[in-house]
């Protein structure tokens, strides 16, 4: 398998692993980190394509994704903090108010 295929496969694998982690881990912070993993997988595929086509716009897009990821985590963590303070636990299962 050539380089591109390898990297794309890796990207898919990282994305899937992140998805599994979001779906199965119960700790809120760990879920956030798995989401970061998914994002990283996608960034990897972006970079692969950018390198192959040798356009800078791909890299610019990656840069912007970094910015967005940073902003996102800056908000998500305080939200998780507040939620955790409410229920005194980081367990996502504690929040099932929308049941039924």
């Amino acid at each position: 398998m050539d380089r591109t295929q390898l990297l794309l496969t890796l990207s898919i694998a990282l994305f899937s692993l992140g998805l599994v982690g979001v779906m199965i881990r119960r700790n809120a912070l760990v879920m956030l980190m798995c989401m970061e993993l998914m994002l990283n997988g996608v960034i990897l595929s972006l970079v692969t394509f950018a390198e192959r086509t040798a356009t800078v716009s791909g890299a610019v897009l990656v840069f912007l994704v970094f910015v967005v990821a940073a902003a996102e985590i800056a908000i998500a963590i305080p939200i998780v903090l507040l939620l955790a303070r409410q229920r005194h636990t980081l367990d996502v299962g504690a929040w099932s108010g929308l049941k039924g």
Partner: protein, 176 residues
């Protein structure tokens, strides 16, 4: 098998290992460290590809800011709660199955498709020009053609700061 390819395989394996460890580790701190190692491996892959700017940014922003923040919060909170004792939620097997199917489908698509190369595109890199992903050409092009996007990101960050302050304030009000 050149050195480049070997390193590539090595870093790929490391990234994968980090991902798997994330799923398995019990303590959130270990999960964070696994993620950090995954990210650093990815930075290595970017460097091998020659996309130096991105590699640097990966380490600076992602590891240096995002993961540090995450580690800080983990250390702040008491993590020995029900989620510590019971790592996995209820939908363990179905989740793995679905994700596996998704991965298989995407992988099948990748192995069958044809991916465009630089030769397919009209844009042709002049011979001997410095690699487009070095810092200087990158920033020239970035701030030249994409300055609007740059300004917009600063707006986005401003919004994020304001939002973060609002969230904290709300939290404080709630706690009395």
């Amino acid at each position: 098998m050149s050195l480049e390819t070997l390193l590539l395989y090595f870093f790929a394996a490391a990234a994968l290992a980090g991902g798997v460890l994330m799923l398995v580790a019990r303590h959130p701190m270990r999960v964070a460290l696994a993620l950090i190692s995954s990210m650093v491996s990815l930075a290595g892959i970017y460097a091998i590809l020659g996309v130096h700017v991105i590699a640097v940014f990966q380490v600076l922003i992602y590891v240096g800011a995002v993961m540090v923040f995450m580690v800080y919060v983990i250390m702040l909170l008491d993590v020995r709660d029900p989620s510590f004792l019971e790592r996995y939620g209820r939908a363990l097997v179905p989740s793995v199955a679905v994700a596996g199917v998704l991965a298989a489908a995407l992988g099948a698509a990748v192995s069958r498709g044809r991916i465009a190369t630089a030769a397919d595109l009209a844009h042709v890199q002049p011979e001997g020009a410095p690699a487009p992903f070095a810092v200087q050409p990158f920033s020239v092009e970035f701030l030249g053609d994409y300055w609007l996007h740059f300004e917009l990101t600063s707006v986005l960050l401003l919004a994020a700061v304001v939002a973060a302050i609002a969230v904290i304030k709300a939290g404080r009000r709630h706690d009395g």
